[in-house]
Symmetry: C2
Subunit: 373 residues, 2 copies
């Protein structure tokens, strides 16, 4: 069911196909995030139009609202949100640690309070998998614990727990039409990361995720961690770098052998009026665009760029019209998906590695984390 | 340029075609409102998909933001918002009277303060037409004064002023590619309305608007006013009932000979989670829809109804996802446009008048003004 074929390699970078019950993915792939069973402000038609292939949704959010059993009874996540193509859910772990209140972790699981209404809930590996089986995504994640990268002692504890939870996640899983990925943790410590990469690789899973990055570490720490982890992972399984990232992070991830990415950045920037462009990340509310008859990006093929001027989009932003967020989401997602399309071409023609400096330079202004909107 | 052909009549009701520089309208027609050069949350593609033909935009809002000269310099309203089909702008009068602060009316015009920043502005008939010529809609309105329907003395003063302003609007107009409609006023007084209908009919305009209704009068007063005005208007000009309205008001308007309607109701209801359905106006946030696998309206052909369940739409509302407003706007607008399509068929086949009681009954719950959301 879940076959991964590498069709071309360029040193450590790979392009290939990963088959799922809802169709194949061509890797490297970027997944837009549909936290609450919707990629904010976009219809599934918009997602098809920008050639999204994989969509991520969040287990923590859907468990709380509308509830995973409701989603199951409505026919599963694909049918509920009318996304007919591959989907991925996370384990809920990261959100429990970052969003919920007064969480209490023990070796069996984590008890937490909902950020919505303060009600008490408990996730264990078994519960996370049960929820993800109710949701029904094609790719699901083992329950894991993400540690503070600067806390070595805690990183060790969290890594050990993540390993035991990965085994329990794998053991409790029942649906053959879902691919469970184990998650490599270990903070930014090379020894822990190597240990985790070897342990997670030893499990019988069709893919491997790398967690605990883009959570406050430096770029060098991220790259060093990838340089430790990726060579230890089996070649024949897709690698998913969770929650990453910026265009710069994606290019650097592919360079090191990552196949799957997801990030809220393109849609979050859109809601803050910010657009990826070859000129850098533009705040489209800026008065300099008031009479600018060009599209957001003259090189872009998205609906927003084919149709509207910067002047119109700036007007929508100033007038607080929601269509601005829709158009900028379409553009920013399409910009990253176009980047992935280019990267796949470059890996296939053998030019990717030599193009990395140029690509990084091209996206340099867009890699800034600051949103000036 | 602006030719109106009646293709079928059913007593006072008519169906026909009105040609404009941006294509023909089939009447009776309902115009979605795009106050700030956007029908809230929808792309032009969505508007085409629901078969919208005429879109209204508001002179007062566009004058203040982004400015009519900017819109002109960007190629006019059609190009700015990428709506290639017919458009209509109002005169700005109604918004000046209902939205702006500390307005001061004299026989020459009105001085008012912007509701956005408190800055002082002045509209005269000449200024309103100049703005509308900059915006470039196909159908534009004479500058008018809408009175409190319950104040007879003021209704007389406002009507007289409206007549003088209509003459000035007509005199100052320069663009041959815009159809200027005069506006009948007179509150709810039959004598004033008859006088106004006769005066406005005497002007050389390709169409006539009826203003000052749906502003607080009773349904009987609205119907009685239409019964006075419409028989006095020339047969061969389209009649536009401004800002009306509910499905009930539209059916009653067509019955009395109205050809063009506009109203913010469908999109405003959508933002309050309310949907037009054969069961009545439904608050889609209601918990009874949590597991409802039916579409909003099983008889509807819109994208939202073809694609999503009530359960999903309720989830989006509860989770405060903006896609809910987009989907409900699509549905509510399509519901009214479908109503207009049916009405045109019924007028053409001679059955409209006999179907009015059935249509009113069918839409009875939807005609309620209360929004339970």
């Amino acid at each position: 069911m879940f076959e991964f074929h590498i069709t071309a390699k360029n040193n450590r970078s790979r392009t290939g196909t990963f088959t799922t019950p809802h169709g194949g993915l061509i890797t490297p792939v970027f997944a837009p995030v549909g936290t609450q069973a919707t990629v904010k402000t976009l219809t599934p038609e918009h997602l098809k139009e920008i050639r999204a292939s994989l969509v991520l949704s969040n287990t923590y959010h859907l468990y709380l609202r509308p509830g995973d059993e409701l989603v199951r009874d409505m026919g599963g996540l694909h049918k509920f949100m009318q996304w007919p193509n591959p989907m991925l859910t996370d384990s809920g772990g990261f959100q429990v640690f970052s969003l919920s209140n007064t969480r209490k972790i023990d070796d069996d699981g984590v008890t937490f309070k909902s950020h919505i209404d303060g009600s008490t809930h408990r996730f264990t590996p078994e519960k996370s998998i049960a929820i993800q089986e109710n949701l029904g995504a094609d790719i699901i994640m083992a329950f894991d614990e993400c540690s503070d990268p600067n806390d070595l002692a805690y990183s060790k504890i969290a890594m050990d727990r993540t390993h035991r939870w990965a085994e329990r996640s794998l053991k409790t899983k029942t649906r053959p039409d879902q691919a469970l990925f184990g998650i490599v943790q270990g903070g930014v410590n090379p020894d822990l990361r190597a240990e985790s990469a070897q342990f997670i690789s030893s499990l019988d899973t069709p893919g491997i995720a790398i967690g605990g990055l883009s959570v406050g570490e430096t770029k060098d720490e991220m790259h060093n961690t990838l340089d430790v982890v990726l060579p230890l992972l089996p070649e024949n399984k897709p690698r998913y770098l969770m929650g990453v990232g910026t265009p710069e992070d994606i290019i650097n991830g592919v360079l090191r052998g990552v196949d799957i990415f997801d990030c809220v950045l393109p849609t979050r920037l859109a809601r803050h009026h910010s657009a990826f462009t070859p000129e850098g990340r533009l705040n489209m509310m800026n008065a300099t665009f008031a009479r600018d008859e060009r599209p957001i990006d003259e090189t872009c093929d998205c609906y927003a760029c084919r149709t509207f001027t910067r002047a119109y989009i700036r007007h929508l932003i100033v007038a607080k019209e929601l269509l601005a967020g829709t158009l900028l989401s379409i553009h920013n997602l399409r910009a990253l998906i176009r980047l992935m399309e280019s990267i796949r071409v470059y890996i296939a023609d053998g030019s990717f590695e030599s193009r990395v400096p140029g690509l990084l330079n091209q996206w340099a202004n867009n890699a800034k984390r600051a949103v000036s909107g």
